[in-house]
Symmetry: C2
Subunit: 181 residues, 2 copies
């Protein structure tokens, strides 16, 4: 089984966030960081990454994303380009998310269709640390994952056991987009 860890694209800073009336009326506290959107360049780069993946026949059976706006937008751009037909959201993929909790959920899940290629869209340093846990069984803080970058892991089976993965690629968007934006 293949697991691709994808970091969200370039997002605006906190000053760029304008909560909607709906945000203001439905939430007791608003974490502005959760509302940061992809910038125009961020969207464009992720769209180019998606186009390149599609061209290379790199597709996913399922994308699971962090609920934060910049991650969801990244995942949606990938889905819109037919990179994946299924898209889910997991609270465990938030910044400082909980890998053991996510992994317990994953290992206990039942899907109608078998998942042999899964993509997870989230944040740093989570994703590179998770990759290190999957590969080496511990965090060593040595993988550099840029915004819009992808870590590809290969597992013996769909249990995604810690300390068992092979690293098959670590891509920066630079190598995936066709032109400088």
């Amino acid at each position: 089984m293949y697991l691709y860890l994808i970091r969200h694209g370039i997002a605006g800073d906190l000053e760029s966030v304008t909560p909607t009336d709906n945000d203001l009326s439905t939430q007791k506290t608003i974490d502005l960081d959760e509302l940061r959107s992809l910038t125009k360049v961020g969207r464009k780069k992720i769209a180019q990454v998606a186009d390149r993946l599609a061209k290379l026949d790199v597709t996913f059976d399922l994308i699971i994303t962090s609920p934060l706006v910049r991650a969801r937008q990244t995942a949606e751009i990938l889905s819109d380009r037919q990179i994946s037909t299924q898209l889910q959201v997991s609270e465990d993929l938030k910044p400082m998310g909980n890998l053991p909790a996510w992994l317990m959920w994953w290992q206990a899940r039942t899907f109608d269709d078998p998942i042999s290629t899964l993509a997870v869209v989230g944040h740093e340093p989570n994703l590179s640390h998770w990759a290190e846990l999957f590969i080496f069984g511990k965090v060593v803080d040595r993988l550099v994952l840029k915004k819009g970058g992808i870590i590809g892991l290969k597992f013996d089976d769909d249990r995604l056991a810690i300390g068992t993965a092979q690293l098959i690629c670590l891509l920066t968007p630079k190598y995936l987009v066709d032109s400088k934006i």
Copy 2:
């Protein structure tokens, strides 16, 4: 300082090797494996990888290659495309080569020009094992490096100390070539 470990392209098998009269007259024993050449597809893919690196302004101050024909040819294609102006050969980069010996030589070298981006062209499993030594200080056999693939490492300085590198990319040619060959 940046170190790029590049695996040679696709080569012919032992049956494809025809030693030249020069090989036969100058060498007491001939290791046919050392004479294996890149195939036509192998050459084409490496040329496409080189073109892509040039387009992305990924260039090297120096390429050091294994003396084996398939590695030398790979390094020469990269050099021919102006990816690097300097090309050297090191016996330590042969299959089952000697990283400590190469590293001692590197750390004791004196170059006229400082080298901030170095490429090494060689073989598996050497290159992925060396990458793991540079990153983690031990071989864990978890990095997958395909023919024509590239591992990019970043070091604090040009001593290239074991156990200090960050992994900045792990690329298969698939992500670098423009079309399926």
